[in-house]
Structures are given as structure tokens and as C-alpha cells.
């Protein structure tokens, strides 16, 4: 693959490009899925492709991608021609591509040999463990709605005209479990998913147990009264808010002229987090990844950049160019984004709500489509418990909550010590958070 990438770079230079980079990704994914009719489907995907990004002497950038990691002569010629034809002015075109030796890929904890070598029966066993536990843990869970487990392994190569040639391997496991719970009068469907780099990072039985308990809460739950309430977000719910918030992290955020969060908030982007779902030794442009504090104890820290946004801002890339697949050009995006944990137990955060009357303990959030284009609030359906005087009370379910994203970090009053990742995209993490106010209305 290294040779294929280097050959494509050479071909682009020979065709008149001033700089070029080739990205190759190959891999395999094995998926076990329990079907609606009661059967089992088993899928093995072999995936691979190559992408070329080139920069012209006139300051343009062009991108083209094709399936197949080792393009034959006509395909390689086509890729180069297409990328040249589509080249448009780009701020980063005149910046030199990163050179030098590629960062060492060891020690990131992103490759699990056991996961790569697993057999279909291993996956069926793990999925069965999760599903069986969900059905056993809660008698009102009547049947499965959906259940799938995917294990993938991939190898990445990146080479460019500055002499950079790097590679790393990664693995990923993704489980989805949906259950139907009913009590005769009504029924609910609850779906959860979890993503990790290795089998060791999650327990199927615990995942099944948590899914069943959430389904029971959703079944018993009733809508919360409309209004505004203080709330404690469990890690899964807080990470979901963070995922939505990440879309609004522009190169201009955080603004150093004003506080970005309350004094208890430290927001970290860490592309080198051990075992992180978005960890890698270098980003989609070959820039070494790093840890960047966007918010430090409430104060604005540094922003994250890829080469393009760095060029526009007069800064340097922070290694935040992400490629969703080989089909996609690198784009500025967070890597592993998380709120640093505090020291309080989650129970202590709940107790802090004692003086505020009623509140919500939001255990799970299911994002809902916002009704208005350009809406900067997060809209989601919440499941959890009503809180009275700092004590958890009756279950709530289907509460439509609305959270203004601009003000949510300044509105964090306390941070728990239970940082967790993996819900559901995997690269967003948070401990429990106590926040000033969420809006609730009937769905």
C-alpha cells in the first residue's frame, strides 16, 4: 500500500501538481445481526480505497477518490486528471505539507489483535451474552427489537510529496441493542449503542443489563411537567450534548475575550488518548496529533485547527484534520473531545439540587430533529428521573428537552468524577454534570 500511495503522489507531481498526498485505507468488518423474523445475518465487508489530494502551483486544491487501494494504470491516471480538473483556490495550497519521519504508532491502544482475528462465532457469543442479559435482567423486557455487533480492523497509509510516509492499524467494536419492554398497557422500544477500540473496553453483559434497566425506566416513565429545571446529566446524556455542541466549535471558538465555561469546566481535545476511538499517531493530513485544552477551568484556551483553518488564522494545525473514510477529504473536526472529570461523586451532585426544589436526572438523551433550520438549541427526548429536594423520584420518559448550546458550558455548576466514553459515537466523553437549566415541553 505504501508503494501505491507513493506512486500516486509521484504521478500527480509529474502531471504538474506542486504538492500531493495520497491516503489509503483498507480493512475488514465482520457484523452479526439478529433479524426481525428471528434469523441471523452475518456480514463480512472487505473495504479499501485510495484518495488523492493535490495542490497546484496556482494555489488550487483538488480531491478525487476511488475504491481499490492499488489503482491500476488507467485508474491512477483518472484520479490525477480529475483532481487537477476540480482544483479550486485553497488557503492551505501554498503551505508545505508536513514532512519528516512519521510518528510512532505504538502505545495508542487502538489496535486489538484479538478483535482483528475474531471468528464469527466469537461475535455471536458476545452478542448473545448482551441480548440474554437484557432479557434476563428485567422481566418486562419482552423481546429484542434489534441487535448487532460489528468488529472491524483497518490499516491506514498516508504519503505526501514532502517525504512523509506513515501508517497505523486500528480496530473498532460497535454494538447496537434495542429491546421492547411492555407491561400490558403500553410498550416502549429502547435502543442503545456503544463503540470501543477493543473487546476489553466493554462488557456485553453490563451493556445488556443497562439497556434493560433503561427500558424499564422508559416504560414506567411519564412526561415531565413543562417548564425550566436544573438537571443532572449522566455521562451518556452529557456526551450526547457534547456531540451536538461539537458542531458549533468553529475556528473562532473559544473567544478569548470572554469565559467559555463555568470555573469547573475544562474541555479537552486529545488525539492521543490511550484507547480513544478517534486516537491516531497523525491526522488525515499527516500532522502529529496532540492534546489541546479548549477550555481550562472556564477560561478560553486554544482552538483546534487543520492546515486550512490554521492558514486562515495565522496559526498552526493542531492535528485535527479528520477523514470520515477514504472517500472524504480531510476536514477540521474534534478528535476525542471530553470534559475533564472533577472530584464529586454523582450522588453528591444530586444532593446539590436539594436547595433548588424540583429538577431532572437525565440518564439518556435521544436527539430529535429541531423544527427550525439554523436552530442553535439542542432538542432531544430524555429518559431519567424526577428529582425532588436532591433525591431521585419517579421515572420520566419522552420529555422533550431544549438546551441552548451557546450557554450550556457557562451553565455547568458542578462536574462529577465518573468520566466515561463510548456513547454512541465513541469519541465524546463526559462525567456527570449538574447544569443550571433545561427547558421541558410535552413531545
Amino acid at each position: 500500500m505504501r508503494e501505491a500511495a507513493l506512486a500516486l503522489v509521484e504521478r500527480a507531481l509529474a502531471a504538474g501538481a506542486a504538492q500531493a498526498e495520497a491516503f489509503v485505507k483498507v480493512g475488514a468488518t465482520r457484523t452479526v445481526r439478529l433479524e426481525a423474523g428471528g434469523g441471523v445475518s452475518w456480514t463480512r465487508r472487505s473495504e479499501g480505497g485510495i484518495a488523492l489530494r493535490l495542490f497546484t502551483p496556482e494555489g488550487g486544491a483538488g480531491f478525487a477518490a476511488a475504491c481499490g487501494p492499488e489503482p491500476a494504470e488507467p485508474a491512477a491516471r483518472s484520479l490525477v486528471q480529475a483532481a487537477l480538473h476540480g482544483a479550486l483556490p485553497d488557503d492551505a495550497a501554498r503551505l508545505p505539507l508536513p514532512g519528516g519521519p512519521a510518528p510512532d504508532a505504538r502505545g495508542f491502544g487502538i489496535f486489538d489483535p484479538r478483535l482483528q482475528a475474531c471468528a464469527p462465532s466469537d461475535l455471536e457469543g458476545l452478542l448473545d451474552e448482551a441480548a440474554s442479559e437484557a432479557l434476563r435482567a428485567e422481566p418486562r423486557v419482552r423481546r429484542l427489537d434489534t441487535a448487532s455487533l460489528a468488529a472491524s480492523s483497518a490499516e491506514v497509509w498516508l504519503a505526501n510529496s514532502s517525504g512523509f510516509a506513515g501508517t497505523y492499524k486500528q480496530t473498532l467494536v460497535h454494538i447496537v441493542l434495542g429491546v421492547v419492554a411492555g407491561d400490558g398497557a403500553s410498550s416502549v422500544v429502547v435502543r442503545r449503542s456503544r463503540t470501543a477500540r477493543s473487546f476489553a473496553a466493554f462488557s456485553p453483559a453490563l451493556f445488556g443489563d443497562e439497556t434493560a434497566r433503561l427500558a424499564a425506566t422508559a416504560l414506567e416513565g411519564r412526561a415531565a411537567p413543562e417548564g425550566s429545571y436544573p438537571a443532572m446529566l449522566a455521562p451518556a446524556a452529557a456526551a450526547e450534548v457534547l456531540r451536538r455542541f461539537a458542531r458549533s466549535i468553529t475556528p473562532a471558538w473559544p473567544d478569548p475575550s470572554r469565559p467559555a465555561g463555568s470555573a469547573c469546566v475544562t474541555l479537552i481535545d486529545d488525539g492521543r488518548l490511550p484507547g480513544g476511538v478517534a486516537s491516531a499517531p497523525f491526522d488525515g493530513e499527516g500532522v502529529p496529533t496532540r492534546r489541546t485544552a479548549l477550555v481550562e477551568r472556564g477560561a478560553a484556551g486554544r482552538t483546534i485547527h487543520d492546515r486550512r483553518s490554521a492558514a486562515a488564522d495565522g496559526g498552526v494545525s493542531t492535528g485535527n484534520a479528520s477523514r470520515a473514510s477514504f472517500r472524504d477529504p480531510p476536514r477540521r473536526a474534534p478528535s476525542n473531545l471530553f470534559i475533564a472529570p472533577g472530584s464529586a461523586e454523582p450522588g453528591e451532585l444530586l444532593a446539590e439540587m436539594r436547595g433548588t426544589g424540583s429538577g431532572l436526572w437525565i440518564q439518556s438523551l435521544r436527539p430529535a430533529s429541531s423544527m427550525m433550520p439554523g436552530d442553535t438549541r439542542m432538542t432531544a427526548l430524555a429518559t431519567g428521573r424526577w428529582v425532588e429536594q436532591g433525591r431521585p423520584g419517579r421515572p420520566i420518559a419522552g420529555a422533550l428537552i431544549s438546551l441552548p448550546l451557546e450557554g450550556w458550558l457557562p451553565g455547568v455548576r458542578a462536574v462529577g468524577n465518573d468520566l466515561a466514553f463510548g456513547f454512541p459515537a465513541g469519541s465524546f466523553g463526559s462525567p456527570s454534570l449538574l447544569i443550571d437549566s433545561v427547558g421541558v415541553r410535552a413531545p
Partner: protein, 494 residues
């Protein structure tokens, strides 16, 4: 497999050159013990994606050439699937013969352990020419890319020029041109092939005037890039219409609230009915008991005025194709006849919910995905009244001419949808524009509440996309004006 794609406008057909009979024999010969049948889906797809951000002036072009194959083997209670990128004659043969091994030669290390090299099936290689992506160069030519960019720029320019006096307009444009060729061959039925193509224009605009702000978006789907450049200049018409609609939203007053009649002008209600009928009548939802229509076949579930079908065979509609992604012929599938539930949408895996025969609704986003039951085009049979007749019988209420975003809970059928363009009905006529209305209800109550059906079915010219289990596929709508006698109209969310 040979790709021969063409000129900037994708006028010529890409050619998938495969000896289907030979490949089918190899597939059948390689069926493991206990397997009933096998099916091979082969796809090649060329995509040109042009984006312009009007605020920053940034323009980008992305070009993708994707080819792949998806093999499924069916046994009792078990389906095995094998997906392969960039099939060559050798790897396609390997996939048919030894799917467990195909494609793994790209990987190094432990993943290759135990993988043998496939043997050769005599004659196949000779008949399958080497994949020739060089032939794809035409579709990615400078002229083709420049034409797409020009069209997007023209649309964006029209958006700004038509924004109106005193308005500041910020827009963005995305133009996607795609040609997809599929081949489906199976051991138990005849092979089929189909070429599907479209050009989609997506525009967004934000208007600001005197401290007020309105955002709006519009889409247009046509069969090819060439059709956008026609003398009618539909891309500019779309931009002008979007600018005018956003300007009306700036001027719109508050919406009436409460229970009232709601008239959905043709074809504005199609998206809502797709959500509450399309998804809830999919056989996989029904079989899981995750639809309120499970067990309701033969029962009255809607107003007797409503006859609704799925029809993927209507020429030139957005969800149409010759065959679905499992090779079943496109057809009309009656779902609700004069208010009675008569059918569901199925694929091969769920066909036992529809008398053992797939209704031709097995659709997938790409070769990487497994097919599942999905709607193609939602079609509602016309009634006898004009829009004016229906409005004339409605002293007060809400006229909806465009729905916006929303959500539907498939388990309960409960929905909430924003009205992007609507008018208060006053004295039997469409009156002042209103903004911020949200329609709330439950699927069965909505269907039962339809009390008027217009004589004016029109197809939605936009580019609606249906998303299910993270797979996006296009669908179409052919809907006459509808009136629901009583719906809950709420204001915007807090």
C-alpha cells in the same frame, strides 16, 4: 466489469460487462450445504459533488468513483453477506467461489491466516474485461466539473439578487451529480441490470432585514446535470422561489393555534405521509411488532376517502427504478384502499409478511449495505375537488404549502412537524402568511381525519431523502391536495 462513463453530462450509459450466466453458474456451484440460494449485487457509481459557501466564498469539488459487490447466501434462519470493494474479474470470481477469503489479500498479519487463494473458473477471466476506470475520466472532465460549478454559482447569484430590497442574504449551494449502475444476479431468478442517475441541487438561505431573520432551504432533483441547464433554467427558478419564500417568512405573522382543519396543498403533505405510512408499513417494523399497524391488515385504518400506494414503476419519479436492489421488478403496491389497510412493504427477507412475495421494496444505500424494506414513491389517488373547492369549504384553518423538519416515533406513530410555509385560512380563502406552526398528532388519527382529497396530484420536484438505520435513499411523492378535518397546531418549540 468495465466502466465507460462518458461525457460531462453522463449522457451515455456506463457499461457493466459481465457474463452473468457464467457467474450465476459459479455462484450456484459454490453454494454450501444447506444454503437455499445466493444473490450477488454489483454496483458502480460516479459522484461529482460541488459545494459553495456563500458566506466565505469557499468552493469545493469532490469526485468519487465507487465500485463494489455484495454477496448474500440464504440458509434456513441464517443469511451470510460478503461485501467487497473494487471488484476485479479475479476478485469477483473469488467472491463467488470462496467468499470467506475474497478481499482479505489487502490485509496483512493475522487476518490473512487460514485464507486460501481461490481457484480459477475456466473462461470467466477471458469474458470479464479488466476494470477500466480510465474510462471514467470523461465524467470527471474539466468541462463537466466547470458546468456543475457554473450552475451552482448561478443559483447562488440568483438567490442574492432576488432577496429583495433591504435584505441581506447569505446562502450556500450544493450540487450532486450521480450515475449508478447496478447488476443483480441470483441463483433462483433471472439477472437484472439498471442504470439510475440524478442531479440534485440543494440551496439554503438566511435573510436578514431590520433585525428580523429567516432561514429556508429548497431542493430540486432532475435526471441529469443537463436538465438543470435547460432553457427553463430550473436551478434559477428554484433560487428565486426560495428567496421569495424566505422573504415571506420575514413578513409572516403569528400562527393560529389549537385544533383546526389543516389543508395540505399538493404535494406538501407527502413527507408527513411518507413518515407515518411509509415507515410504519414496512414489513420489518410490522414483524417486530414495532408499528401501530401490526396486525391491522384488513382493518379500517384511515378515512374511506384515502387510497394510498407505493409505486416504484412510475417513469421519471425520484424513487423509481426498473428493479429494486434485490432484482424484484418495480411495481405498484396498494397499501390503503378506501381506508382499509391492504398491504405492507417487503423485501426478500420479510416477504413472508406479504404472502411470501417481495413487493419490490428491497432498497439499500449502496453495495456496502444490506437491503431492507423501504418506500419508493408514495402515491395517493386523486379525488374530485379542486384546491379552491376545499378551501371554500374551510371557513378557518391552516393551509400548508411546505412542511419543514420534524420527527416521528415509529413505535407509536406520534409525530411533530414544522410548517415551513403556511397561510391562515380566513373566510374560505388563503390569507396572511404565518410562521412558527408545528403540527402534532398520531398517525392513525391523521389518516382517519382526512375528509377531502383533491383532484390535483402533482409530483414533488424536490429531493426528499428517506433515512432508516443510517441508510439514505431517495423517494418520491405524488399527492393531491388533502384536508384533515381536525389537527393540533402548536407554536414553535421553546
Amino acid at each position: 466489469m468495465t466502466l465507460a462513463a462518458p461525457d460531462p453530462y453522463h449522457r451515455r450509459t456506463m457499461i457493466v460487462s459481465v457474463d452473468t450466466e457464467l457467474l450465476r453458474k459459479i455462484l450456484a456451484g459454490a453454494l454450501p450445504a444447506g444454503a437455499r440460494s445466493a444473490e450477488l449485487f454489483v454496483e458502480s457509481r460516479l459522484t461529482t459533488l460541488v459545494s459553495i459557501d456563500g458566506a466565505s466564498g469557499a468552493e469545493s469539488v469532490e469526485l468519487r468513483w465507487e465500485t463494489g459487490a455484495h454477496l448474500r447466501r440464504f440458509s434456513e434462519g441464517r443469511v451470510e453477506c460478503f461485501v467487497l470493494d473494487a471488484p476485479t474479474p479475479a476478485s469477483l470470481e473469488a467472491l463467488a467461489l470462496h467468499p470467506e477469503a475474497a478481499g482479505l489479500e489487502w490485509l496483512s498479519g493475522d487476518a490473512r491466516l487460514g485464507v486460501g487463494r481461490p481457484g480459477r473458473a475456466g473462461g470467466l477471466e477471458a469474458r470479464l474485461p479488466e476494470a477500466s476506470p480510465g474510462a471514467a475520466g470523461g465524467a470527471w472532465s474539466a468541462a463537466g466539473i466547470a458546468a456543475a460549478l457554473d450552475l451552482a454559482r448561478q443559483a447562488l447569484g440568483r438567490l442574492s439578487s432576488d432577496a429583495g430590497e433591504g435584505c441581506r442574504a447569505t446562502g450556500s449551494a450544493g450540487l450532486q451529480v450521480q450515475v449508478q449502475e447496478v447488476l443483480v444476479l441470483a441463483t433462483d431468478r433471472d439477472p437484472v441490470r439498471d442504470t439510475r442517475r440524478f442531479a440534485e441541487l440543494r440551496l439554503q438561505v438566511e435573510l436578514q432585514r431590520a433585525g428580523r431573520r429567516a432561514e429556508s432551504e429548497a431542493t430540486l432533483s432532475v435526471p441529469s446535470l443537463e436538465a438543470l441547464g435547460d432553457s427553463g433554467r430550473p436551478h434559477e427558478t428554484l433560487a428565486a422561489g426560495l428567496a421569495a419564500r424566505a422573504a415571506r417568512r420575514l413578513d409572516a405573522g403569528s400562527t393560529p393555534r389549537g385544533e383546526m382543519p389543516v389543508v395540505f396543498a399538493s404535494p406538501s403533505g407527502g413527507f408527513l405521509l411518507h413518515e407515518v405510512c411509509g415507515h410504519l408499513l414496512e414489513a420489518d417494523h410490522v414483524l417486530r411488532g414495532a408499528s401501530p399497524f401490526a396486525g391491522a391488515r384488513g382493518q379500517a385504518v384511515a378515512s374511506p376517502r384515502l387510497t394510498l400506494a407505493d409505486d416504484g414503476s412510475i417513469p421519471a419519479m425520484r424513487g423509481s427504478s426498473l428493479f429494486d436492489d434485490e432484482g424484484a421488478s418495480a411495481r405498484r403496491t396498494p397499501l390503503i384502499m378506501e381506508g382499509t389497510l391492504v398491504g405492507f412493504l417487503s423485501d426478500r427477507m420479510t416477504a413472508f409478511a406479504t404472502d411470501g412475495i417481495s413487493t419490490g421494496n428491497g432498497r439499500r444505500q449502496s453495495y456496502r449495505d444490506a437491503p431492507m424494506p423501504r418506500m419508493t414513491n408514495l402515491v395517493i389517488d386523486p379525488g374530485s375537488e379542486t384546491l379552491d373547492d376545499i378551501l371554500g369549504r374551510t371557513p378557518a384553518g391552516l393551509l400548508v404549502t411546505r412542511l419543514g423538519r420534524g420527527r416521528v416515533d415509529p413505535a407509536t406513530g406520534r409525530f411533530a412537524l414544522a410548517v415551513e410555509e403556511g397561510y391562515a385560512i380566513e373566510g374560505g380563502r388563503a390569507g396572511r402568511p404565518v410562521a412558527g406552526a408545528v403540527l402534532r398528532g398520531v398517525a392513525r388519527e391523521l389518516l382517519a381525519g382526512i375528509d377531502a382529497v383533491g383532484s390535483d396530484p402533482t409530483a414533488d420536484a424536490g429531493a426528499p431523502v428517506c433515512i432508516k438505520d443510517d441508510q439514505a435513499v431517495p423517494f418520491g411523492v405524488l399527492q393531491p391536495t388533502l384536508r384533515v378535518g381536525r389537527m393540533h397546531v402548536a407554536g414553535a418549540e421553546p
